[in-house]
């Protein structure tokens, strides 16, 4: 009979039409799902942020008397004039992001949220903070203003001498 050929059992490597289309369908569906996931991730990550610039102009060094700690609440940084020179610390607690405060009578930096305490160089004294307060890149620009880059941390004990 001419139809005998069709009923010959397919060997294991061969797939029939139904299995082929099922595989094709599932394949395209998974590609589409992966594409949707990538698309969603891209869409949800903003490419342009209308956030304040990480670079802060702190003003003239003369505004910071020696042995002073000045907190700028808006930018969340400390500008500290030590004997060795100027430096700046992030005022954002490394625990959960609260704004810390300088306690002049105790000579420490303290976080109001969960009680972390740091010394003037940002090293942790006590509390849940996992890391010290980072030192931020600080320099003097051509106009003689102290500048701080909040997005760049540096190794501690690098002072700016004016």
């Amino acid at each position: 009979m001419p139809d005998d050929k069709k009923t010959v059992p397919a060997d294991n490597n061969e797939i029939n039409r139904r299995a082929f289309f099922a595989k094709l369908g599932l394949g395209s569906l998974s590609i589409a799902t992966a594409g949707t996931a990538v698309f969603a991730y891209q869409f949800l990550s903003p490419n342009v942020l209308y956030e304040p610039s990480p670079i802060v102009n702190a003003g003239k060094p003369e505004g910071f008397p020696e042995d002073s700690v000045t907190l700028d609440v808006n930018s969340g940084i400390y500008l500290i004039h030590a004997k060795e020179g100027f430096f700046s610390l992030s005022a954002v607690c490394t625990h959960l992001g609260c704004l810390t405060a300088w306690k002049p009578d105790l000579g420490i930096i303290a976080c109001p949220c969960h009680g972390s305490k740091f010394n003037r160089e940002g090293e942790k004294i006590e509390g849940p903070a996992p890391k010290p307060l980072p030192w931020l890149r600080t320099w003097v620009n051509d106009e003689g203003d102290l500048m701080v880059d909040r997005s760049t941390t540096i190794r501690p004990m690098q002072f700016v001498r004016v």
Partner: protein, 261 residues
């Protein structure tokens, strides 16, 4: 008088309009009463028959129903609050204050929304404790427990996202702390934090994202899972009645002992 009112309602149920909406027909036979449940799009999620004692206060303390009640209050008051609230940085806080001090009945609606939110979180936990200590989470109801855990998470996320919307100091720092907890997730933590806030700071994007989550995505998810949760009660054989009571267990143990012999 009571008879007259009853007759009036019977007549009403026999009008053509009523019959076109509710097709189960009049009558108080078991069939009619079953059809009234089965043929209603909302009620058909539930069982047509319930054990009488499962309707008593003692059986459930009505905790699930009360939770659903607070959810309905939250949806209705929330929609009204949306009419005066703009999810933008310059306006959010001022709008919240307006709702408190300027809008007629705004204070009442806002407080109702807030207290119901607190009540809902409390009731969800109470409901779960009740289900847990009664042992109602056990097979065949184990999947409905899973749905319940999802609903617990949705409730908590609704609370968390709603907390930011007044845009006051409490909200700002609570979300700063809360979103920093998300950064503690290994490997992807910072990405999750960035996607959640739509930026690095709690700012305009974060406010808008939390608003959309709070008013659209999470309530829709809640409605979906609540529907499945109710439907599963029927599918799992109705509300759990405690077979685990000592006397029942003793009887069952005795029966099992006989069967073994």
């Amino acid at each position: 008088m009571a008879k007259a009112i009853e007759n009036y309602f019977d007549d009403l149920r026999n009008t053509r309009i009523w019959r076109s909406i509710f097709r189960s027909g009049t009558g108080s036979s078991t069939l009619h009463r079953s059809l009234a449940i089965q043929q209603n799009v909302f009620l058909h999620l539930f069982s047509t028959k319930v054990r009488r004692r499962m309707l008593s206060f003692n059986a459930t303390w009505y905790l699930g129903t009360l939770t659903f009640g607070t959810f309905l209050i939250l949806v209705s008051t929330g929609i009204l609050l949306m009419l005066y609230y703009h999810p933008s940085v310059p306006q959010a806080y001022a709008d919240t204050k307006d709702l408190q001090f300027v809008v007629s009945d705004g204070l009442f609606l806002r407080n109702l929304h807030r207290w119901s939110a607190h009540a809902m979180v409390f009731l969800v936990f109470a409901h779960m404790f009740k289900v847990f200590y009664r042992g109602a989470y056990r097979p065949p109801r184990e999947f409905n427990w899973v749905i319940g855990v999802i609903l617990l998470l949705i409730t908590l996320f609704l609370s968390y996202t709603g907390y930011l919307l007044p845009w006051d100091q409490l909200a700002y720092w609570a979300i700063t702390v809360g979103s920093n907890i998300a950064s503690a997730v290994p490997v992807v933590g910072n990405k999750v934090h960035f996607l959640m806030l739509g930026g690095n700071l709690v700012n305009a994007n974060a406010l808008l994202r939390f608003y959309v989550l709070h008013c659209m995505i999470l309530p829709l998810a809640a409605i979906l899972f609540i529907a499945v949760h109710f439907w599963r009660i029927r599918k799992d054989g109705g509300l759990y009645h405690h077979q685990s009571e000592p006397r029942t267990m003793a009887v069952q143990a005795a029966a099992a002992g006989k069967a073994d012999q």
